[in-house]
Amino acid sequence: MLDFSKNYFELFGLPISYVIDADQLAERYLDLQRVMHPDRYAKGSEQERRLSMQGSIQINEAYETLRDPIRRARYLLSLKGIDMDLQKETTQDAAFLMEQLELREKLAGAHNQPDPCGFISTLMTDINRRITSLVGQMAVQFEAATPEQLEAAREILRKMQFLQKLRYQAESLEAELDEAL
């Protein structure tokens, strides 16, 4: 049974930090799943199966959250008492918003490109690069985590959210093109 009151960092026995040792995280994750996964209780009682499923779900959720730089930032902020309503919050950075608009227009025009799939693929690489650069900026904010820096982290997260949404849309368009083949 898992102690659900532990935060995700405690669950994996890791220090609370934005910069994370990915190998160590993966190792702890596997150690926990090895004992908790429902496959270990396939022939167990109903209670064992239920508990192992709940525990395994929690471990997966914790792992996905800490592994993904965007979710990890949001989680860390929430541990610091900043809960964001990302559906309502949006960045006011005009230059960034302008760039987003351009990226969005590019995506919308993918249909008319000679190689739409290749075009989307390049665009996605570009989106991923932008996210990676924000991840670097985010790490700096969490080093000392002063109130000003946490506010800055929040702003970076809003931007990450934008890019992530765009990535989803690109994926959807790509799926549409694949199906048309």
Partner: protein, 623 residues
């Protein structure tokens, strides 16, 4: 120790006796059953030494015939002989229409969403047809292994959606089998290879079967097989190769589209054998019976065949590309690509796949058997024949899950390639003032538009207290279990009003329908329902007794005080007593009582195992 004084229940299995569990590859064209014995997994042959069972079921007025004998009659009796039923499994009447107007069956016209095929033995659903195949294989295994099966692992294409998985599980229930796990076919193949090669690294599994295509990218590391991404096409396979060849023959031989069922079946058969001989030969001669006493003679060259099927083979490379990207890997990082499924025997498939992955594809385990072998290995682990040190599988959901929001758009709640089991929640709110109900439409797929995704279920949350628009907080939780099956729950947070569904898709059968089918099939087998129930409860009781004894011996004295130990032991003793009776209800009751009494102990044991894992001690350190 006191424990040893308890009498062994009836003819129960000794604590370390090998439990019988098998892996079943329920294929579109052929099915197999395999079992792991003395460390080696093997497919099991029938009395004639054949391992492959043709997935063909023929209904006659005096019984059901499954396999080669049924297949032999497919051309003569097309309406009562069901082939490739897997293509219909978990599909709705509407889907079946789009699968091709050339399906040679008579579908029963009715309101039900589940297609029913009319045969001389009555109307049958794809679930029942599949159950016949499962039963045949289970009987073969029980004869060959000399005992009753405790459970089965059934493989499904990774790309199977929720409805298709549910239908597969339903088929097992109708066949009277306990499903330990539904296992994705490529993952099963990886298990078979992983054991054989024991090589850590990233592997691609390319699985082209009779009717489905799957690609999976997996990482094997220190005994954990982690699926990184998966993709595919649930309606693309070797049957499609046959179809394009058959169409080409029709064109060449001047056969028009109005050809009858029998003619179409013959053409498909001829096309299939031409395809098979082109695996090694450069030219396949054709002699087509035109049905009017005349014949058409011709030949199909490898070159022409390659031209015909190339677009289909290229179509499989699209999901390959996407799976790589989802796994965030470049093609160079893939160590090797493993070929699975009979259709990977086609030389052009090998050529194009090798070209794509920049490596010569591996096919050293028979591609027809590798899936069943992997399933057998996993069945052996799940049923408890192997120690905890064994391999662990971490699989993913193949398709994103979401719900319909305003404007016919899909809000994704669980994205594809998320590791299972998983639960994700999202909050929604009301749209109108005083709104007291909310319709929830569950969808599966990658597209943004509802109309382009697969509809899995509709349900309603009622009794929301009237509030102004936007004030209610409705939390929708999606849970996907280790079989990849979804359940959805909706709850209004301020009032606690709740509604939930185990997603029984629009195309599924109800529980009572399945019960009915099970009853029919038991009656058919002239078996006594009561006797069956008793046996089931005895098996369950035996399992509880064994598991609890092993647990007590392992850590009972460490985790329990004297009174607790005594309490559990008393209830265990009562179960052993009632085990020998013929009262299945009493047995069931005592199993439930025992489990209830043991709840705190089970929790302590799980806690202990988590602590052990986290302090880095292996189980051995505590012994």
């Amino acid at each position: 120790m006191a424990l040893l004084q308890l009498s062994e229940p009836g003819q129960s299995a000794a604590p370390h006796q090998h439990r019988l569990a098998v892996g079943i590859d329920l294929g579109t064209t052929n099915s197999l059953v395999a079992s792991a014995r003395s460390g080696k997994a093997e497919t099991l042959p029938d009395d004639n030494g054949r391992h492959l069972l043709s997935s063909v079921v023929r209904y006659t007025s005096d019984g059901v015939i499954v396999g080669e004998e049924a297949k032999a009659q497919a051309v003569l009796d097309p309406l009562n002989t069901i082939v490739s039923v897997k293509r219909l499994l978990g599909r709705g009447v509407e889907d079946v229409k789009t699968l091709g107007s050339r399906l040679p069956y008579q579908f029963q016209q009715q309101r039900s969403a589940v297609p029913r095929i009319h045969t001389v033995a009555g109307d049958v659903t794809p679930v029942e047809v599949s159950a016949e195949i499962l039963k045949t294989l289970a009987r073969r295994a029980e004869r060959s292994l000399g005992g009753e099966l405790e459970g089965v692992v059934i493989t499904v294409p990774a790309y199977f959606d929720d409805a298709q998985r549910q239908a597969t599980k339903d088929a097992a229930r109708v066949a009277g089998l306990e499903v330990l796990r539904l296992l994705n076919e490529p993952t099963a193949a990886a298990v078979a290879y992983g054991l054989d090669h024991g090589s850590d690294g990233v592997h691609a599994i390319y699985d082209l079967g009779g009717g489905t295509f799957d690609i999976s990218i997996l990482r094997l590391k220190r005994g954990v097989l982690e699926v990184l991404s998966t993709g595919g096409d649930a309606a693309l396979g070797g049957d499609d190769f046959d179809r394009v060849v058959a169409e080409w023959i029709m064109q060449q031989a001047g056969i028009d589209d109005s050809a009858d069922h029998e003619m179409l079946r013959r053409l498909m058969r001829d096309a299939c054998s031409a395809k098979e001989s082109l695996t090694t030969a450069a030219v396949a001669p054709l002699l087509v019976d035109l049905g009017n006493g005349g014949f058409w003679e011709g030949e199909l060259t490898r070159e022409r065949f390659d031209q015909l099927v190339e677009p289909l083979v290229r179509k499989t490379l699209v999901p390959c590309r996407r799976a790589l990207r989802d796994a965030e890997l470049r093609v160079e990082e893939i160590e090797d690509v493993v070929l699975v499924g009979g259709s990977t025997r086609v030389p052009l498939v090998r050529e194009l796949v090798g070209e794509f992955f920049h490596t010569r594809p591996l096919a050293d385990i028979d591609p027809d058997r590798v899936v069943a072998i992997g399933a057998a290995v996993q069945a052996d682990v799940l049923v408890g024949n192997k120690s905890d040190e064994e391999m662990l599988l971490l699989d993913v959901i193949p398709l994103s899950l979401g719900i319909e929001t305003m404007g016919g758009l899909v809000e994704k709640i669980v994205p594809r390639n998320t590791t299972i089991p998983v639960a994700r929640a999202q909050e929604f709110t009301t749209f109108k003032d005083g709104q007291t109900a909310m319709a929830i439409h569950v969808l599966q797929g990658e597209r943004e538009l509802v109309s382009a995704c697969r509809s899995l279920a509709h349900f309603e949350l009622r009794g929301i207290p009237p509030m102004v628009a936007g004030a209610a907080r409705i939390e929708v939780t999606f849970s996907v279990d280790a079989d990849g099956l979804l359940s959805v729950e909706a709850r209004e947070k301020s009032s606690g009003v709740q509604a939930s569904v185990l997603v029984k898709p629009s195309y599924g059968l109800t529980d009572s329908e399945i019960e009915g089918m099970l009853r029919d099939s038991i009656e058919h087998a002239a078996e006594d329902l009561e006797a069956r129930r008793l046996r089931e409860q005895q098996v369950a009781a035996n399992r509880s007794i064994e598991a609890l004894r092993a647990a007590l011996a392992d850590d009972g004295e460490k985790l329990l005080n004297k009174e607790e130990y005594q309490l559990i032991e008393d209830q265990l003793g009562k179960l052993v007593e009632v085990y020998g009776s013929s009262d299945h209800q009493a047995i069931k009751q005592q199993i439930d009582t025992l489990e209830k009494v043991c709840e705190f102990y089970v929790e302590r044991r799980m806690n202990a195992s988590v602590s052990k894992a986290m302090t880095g001690h292996s189980v051995k350190d505590f012994e």
